[in-house]
Symmetry: C2
Subunit: 210 residues, 2 copies
DNA sequence: TAGATTGTTAATCGATTAACAATC
DNA sequence: TAGATTGTTAATCGATTAACAATC
């Protein structure tokens, strides 16, 4: 369990799923869980869970399994969720509004700290509990407040420009809802939410009767 | 290029990205593109694009590249996007509303054909251009209209129940926004939109300074 | 023709799974 | 103690990349 080895990204992406499932188990009052039981819940093999966790340390007990509360705490800590991260939202349209109001985002380690839009009609008005600022002030606000994460919810043709400004201001992780691939320098993380592509990859199978 | 070999799912998932990039190229008036040029746009290697396409046939010309319009047509056809797919949306809350109104969904091969909600206050009222039906009528409507795809936008604790009803009524592809892993029988496709997990997998890197 | 780029094969790389000694 | 389950190693599987003959 040499903690020096950087875990593959595919492993890091699974950790939040483990954490979520453990959170449900905790709510259900389950105290202990085996890799097999946890795997059954989220359709992952027991071996994979144990292997994944082994990148970060030893968390279980032979013959017993894992203490739900303790493992959850450990994973949250590994993911950096023992603190809260300020996230900027760019785009206060229909989508941005849904994101702000979506309660899920108010949970675990994430909070939307600033909202920006280029439309003067939106600027100065509250979206949920946050007053929308003009996009011209992105750089200044992000820098001043040391915000490191941002959600991009602007049209595709504006996404790259917004990303450039954000990165320049110090943002190091982007979640983009815009249907375009962003070019970013090394050291900046980008992930996409792309429901249309996901649907399109399923029509493939339906079109040929599975 | 034996078309008999089923392409890996990871390849199928990339096809929509190729199609989208080609669509942008088409709008830009670009007539021909090489695997290298296409790859540069979407951060994929040229070899991967050529290999991916080879699962489905031969679409390029040596020394030249690919005809943008023709390749786009071919990929759309492979993905089953030469027709339009009726999709049911379950959940007419904040999220469901954003999904209905999101113009992206009105494009390429997908249209939302029915919306359901369990809240009597929402039933009978229009969401965008569609009148919300009660969740009790999911099975009947889906069966009667032969709908094969559905988007789940209900709270986590209702998602599995909704999935069960949908699958029973003949749905074979689910896109779920609910933060829970669904159990489905073989032959049913499920994909997830999970922005919170995505953010959580990036805090991992930020927390340790990349 | 010379230059460019495909489609495909083989080599490499990486991720998943199986197996089992250690041990609770 | 006997049974269960971990953490880890080795084997397997699958995906990506490199290389190049074919050919436009």
């Amino acid at each position: 369990m040499s903690r020096a080895v950087m875990p593959p990204d595919v492993v890091v992406r699974r950790l939040p799923l483990y954490a979520r499932s453990l959170r449900y188990l905790l709510h259900e009052g389950v105290l202990s869980v085996s890799s097999q039981e946890l795997g059954d819940r989220i359709n992952v093999t027991a071996a994979q869970i144990r292997k994944d966790l082994s990148y970060f340390g030893e968390f279980g007990k032979q013959g017993i399994g894992y203490d739900v509360e303790r493992l959850l705490e450990q994973i949250d800590q590994i993911l950096g969720l023992d603190r809260s991260w300020a996230v900027a939202l760019i785009g206060a349209g229909q989508l941005g509004e849904a994101i702000v109001r979506y309660e899920g985002f108010r949970a675990q380690g994430i909070h939307i700290a600033a909202v920006f839009d280029a439309n003067p009609d939106k600027v100065g008005k509250p979206l949920g509990t946050i007053v929308v600022q003009h996009s011209d002030s992105i750089a200044q606000t992000i820098s001043a407040r040391g915000i490191e994460m941002a959600i991009i919810a602007v049209p595709a043709d504006r996404a790259q420009g917004v990303a450039d400004v954000l990165i320049n201001a110090g943002v190091r992780a982007l979640l983009s809802y815009a249907p375009t691939v962003l070019q970013v320098p090394a050291g900046v993380w980008v992930r996409y939410i792309d429901p249309l592509s996901v649907l399109h990859s399923m029509t493939f199978y339906l079109a040929r009767g599975e």
